[in-house]
Symmetry: C2
Subunit: 136 residues, 2 copies
Amino acid sequence: MKEKACELLNTAGLRQTAPRIAIVRAMLKATAPLTQEQIAEQLGQTAPNKTTIYRTLMHLVEKNVVHEAFTQERSQYFELAHHCGKIQCHPHFTCVRCSRTHCLTGASAPLVELPEGFSMQRQQISIEGICPKCKN
Amino acid sequence: MKEKACELLNTAGLRQTAPRIAIVRAMLKATAPLTQEQIAEQLGQTAPNKTTIYRTLMHLVEKNVVHEAFTQERSQYFELAHHCGKIQCHPHFTCVRCSRTHCLTGASAPLVELPEGFSMQRQQISIEGICPKCKN
DNA sequence: AAACCCTTGCAACTTAGTTGCAAATTGATA
DNA sequence: TATCAATTTGCAACTAAGTTGCAAGGGTTT
């Protein structure tokens, strides 16, 4: 059996090239959504060019392998979609002190009841506050 | 009684200057969060310089008169905070077709139950889907 | 009226994302 | 396996939106 990263690329119908495998691996390793730059950092020396990261992400989003988790301070955060419900993923918690983001995979939230005529494709919850580490 | 805009600036302890009053008026008139640029557009010829809009918003955010509703496509959207709960405002709905945003002031949502050790300062819900106008 | 502080606008800068284009790589085919 | 077409990559240049520095302007207080 091929490794997970290849598998994901495969099901998305994308060629398995070195840069793409690296990018997907980085996202698999992550415990919270990443920005394009964070992906690059994570990969260090061997990171593909930022254009490649950008375009790979766009492809993966298009194929629903990845989705944009949220946007903050003018940068977009991406995460793999494989553990998410079609409409709603888990809530994201960002600490206002250390500004680290946590995926609240345990917490569940009901979908908002929309007014007549609206239909929902996606619901996202973002929470700001103080994380346990920064408590005191 | 002074007009609402002046009143808001006053309670925030900010001088009532022409640019500021214009900005707050624009936000009072709005039915959905606005970007800095949208505020400028709204005010047309008489709009203050974008730096002024920026700094006025920062002041207002600091004083909790305005808050950032969400960030999308690298631009920030602001709205007056005067009808919002301290922690949670109404959910925001953005149509994927016309990309207009609606404030779902009617819809209410419970606060997410956080894991032990986390404390919440703010919760925001953003929804994507099709609005009634774009339905067909 | 003088001194002070706040506010404004301009211009320059930053950041993160995005696009155009030519070179390199891949996979399919002969 | 050599060749070819199509896809993918990297570089460099560009864009959009926000942000900062600085000097000029205006109001408030003494």
